[in-house]
Symmetry: C2
Subunit: 346 residues, 2 copies
């Protein structure tokens, strides 16, 4: 834990700017007086692309390397062709900085609206692989646009990549009270990648005798997410399955407005990046309707990653208390940020 934080901020598109402002407000409020916070904003996203055609120039990628961490708002705009900013900016950062742990906790906070009847007790974390699988950009298209087109997408999986994320997930499971780890894949169909995942999962498991393990096919996992989400503690899964499952997890725990995430490189070789799971929501940008809680909870993950455990817990407790006391009247983005900043400072 350093006594200064040199933070890169990428507000991005749509509501990104608004939610990041609240994240920074709470970060400033929670940090001890003697910790020096330096921030540098990066102008990346749809506007930059429209202006210059650039998504993430080398100079900026280089500059980003020298920060302790990155806080990102949201990337994407309907005016930009699908994939350009996702692949050219967001995934480029995840891959360039080798963010192999995509950490996504899911908790049903008190007093939040879940679509599930019976309000099950949900508190699990998905450890999503972040640098392999179908996200590598490998594939292509032949005879594009003709009736004879063939398009491929190649999922690449390495023992190196799978073992490190599986090991991280065992460590997390081992440090939680329930000590339970579920592998999700589809090894009855994707037999090559699926069997490698399962074999490595079983092998690494021998080093964690106290962790109870379980395997589910991804289709069956979605059933349990809605019928029995309390059965999960830690889940480890591939990049694409993790993408799908964590949106579903956000939905059942009260919506994407509360779902935080960290793109983590635990080796420290590159800065880790924290962002809400939600997108840029251009339809509500500028209206003050965006919920900044997901970004604020992402700031908690950022603080935990940098060694500020007490401050991370203070933010999480503040969110819990804030939601518990909520009376259902509308609060603006700014008002929620103010309320949480006041609580963590208090």
């Amino acid at each position: 834990m350093s006594t200064s934080i040199n933070l890169a901020v990428i507000p991005g598109d749509g509501i990104g700017q608004e939610v990041v402002a609240q994240g920074l407000k709470v970060l400033t409020a929670v940090l001890p007086q003697d910790v020096k916070l330096e921030t540098r904003q990066y102008d990346l996203g749809a506007q930059r692309w429209h202006r210059t055609g650039e998504t993430l120039p080398d100079a900026e990628l280089e500059a980003l390397k020298h920060h302790d961490a990155i806080l990102l708002g949201a990337i994407g705009d309907p005016s930009v062709p699908s994939g350009v900013l996702e692949r050219g900016l967001l995934l480029k950062l995840r891959f360039a900085f080798d963010h192999f742990i995509n950490l996504r906790p899911s908790k049903l906070f008190p007093n939040t609206a879940t679509p599930l009847a019976g309000r099950p007790d949900i508190d699990f974390v998905v450890v999503r692989e972040g640098t392999e699988g179908p996200y590598t950009g490998n594939g292509g298209s032949l005879r594009t646009g003709t009736p004879a087109e063939v398009a491929t997408e190649v999922s690449i999986n390495t023992a190196y990549g799978v073992e490190r994320v599986v090991r991280d997930a065992y460590e997390r499971a081992n440090s939680r009270p329930r000590k339970k780890l579920t592998l999700v894949h589809k090894n009855n169909v994707l037999v090559y990648a699926g069997h490698m995942w399962k074999n490595i999962f079983d092998k690494v498991g021998q080093e964690y005798p106290e962790v109870t393990t379980d395997y589910l096919h991804v289709d069956a996992a979605t059933i349990f997410f809605v019928t029995q989400p309390e059965r999960f503690d830690v889940i480890v899964t591939d990049n694409l399955f993790g993408d799908i499952l964590t949106d579903l997890a956000a939905a059942v725990t009260g919506g994407i407005g509360l779902a935080a995430s960290g793109n983590i490189n635990p080796t420290g070789a590159f800065p880790s990046m924290f962002e809400p799971v939600h997108g840029s929501a251009p339809d509500i940008a500028g209206t003050g309707k965006a919920d900044p809680t997901a970004t604020i909870l992402s700031v908690a993950l950022l603080l935990r990653h940098l060694g500020y455990e007490a401050e991370a817990v203070r933010i999480e407790d503040a969110v819990s208390a804030d939601l518990a006391e909520r009376d259902g009247t509308f609060r603006s983005t700014d008002a929620i940020g103010d309320a949480l900043a006041a609580r963590v400072a208090g």
Copy 2:
């Protein structure tokens, strides 16, 4: 519509035998007296594999070709390595008989338990591509079992394969009152396959000016499945996304015990195959606890496919009425089959 049906029956594993027996009971009860039903049972699945090492020998594949349709119970057993029966039998049939339409209706019947609060009005159908995508078995593993292993899975998509399933989905949407079709993919990451799907979807859509269209990324689609499932009418999607979404759809509409499916080759070149979405559930096999309704609803899809529309509707209405009058006491597999057979005969 023929005046005889020559049906192949593959009971398969676990509860397969029990639920198929009820499906046949209802089929016999619903058919007009002058329709001759011939059935031939095929001994395929885990027991056969243990006995002979075979999953689907050429002679049986050849014999199956000459039936009007196939009714399948369930395939899979924990005593068989994951993937052996799935790839060697179930998927082999879907691919050999070019079942490019994997049809999976989802309806929240009256009086069934959904995990969703508020009991939304759910009535949609997923048209899942059945012969391409990540299910082709393309891929491999290098340096298997070593720390240097690389495993790949290749999703193969052709304009030929995508156009025919997209066109089928437009036809279905066009014939339904709401006339709405949603494409689900992940074209911001899987840009090669995703853009091809989207381009073909848009192109074919020009021929169906009355159909309202929509596009969702698969992760966002899972959110709407639990927060707003009533927004869907017809969904068209890739093989793997369809696999995941239809299990989730089954869960929100009262469980996998009610979810029917058809693996359809609309050209008639090969027999189509009808099966419940659920698996072989070895834990409850032989206990009389299996719900045969999914199989019985699959028989309705089979009848519709063979031109017996009135009989298909009779089964579906019987299931609706039966569920509506259910009082919550336990009924065995057999008792449910008897009740439905009595209703459709009456």
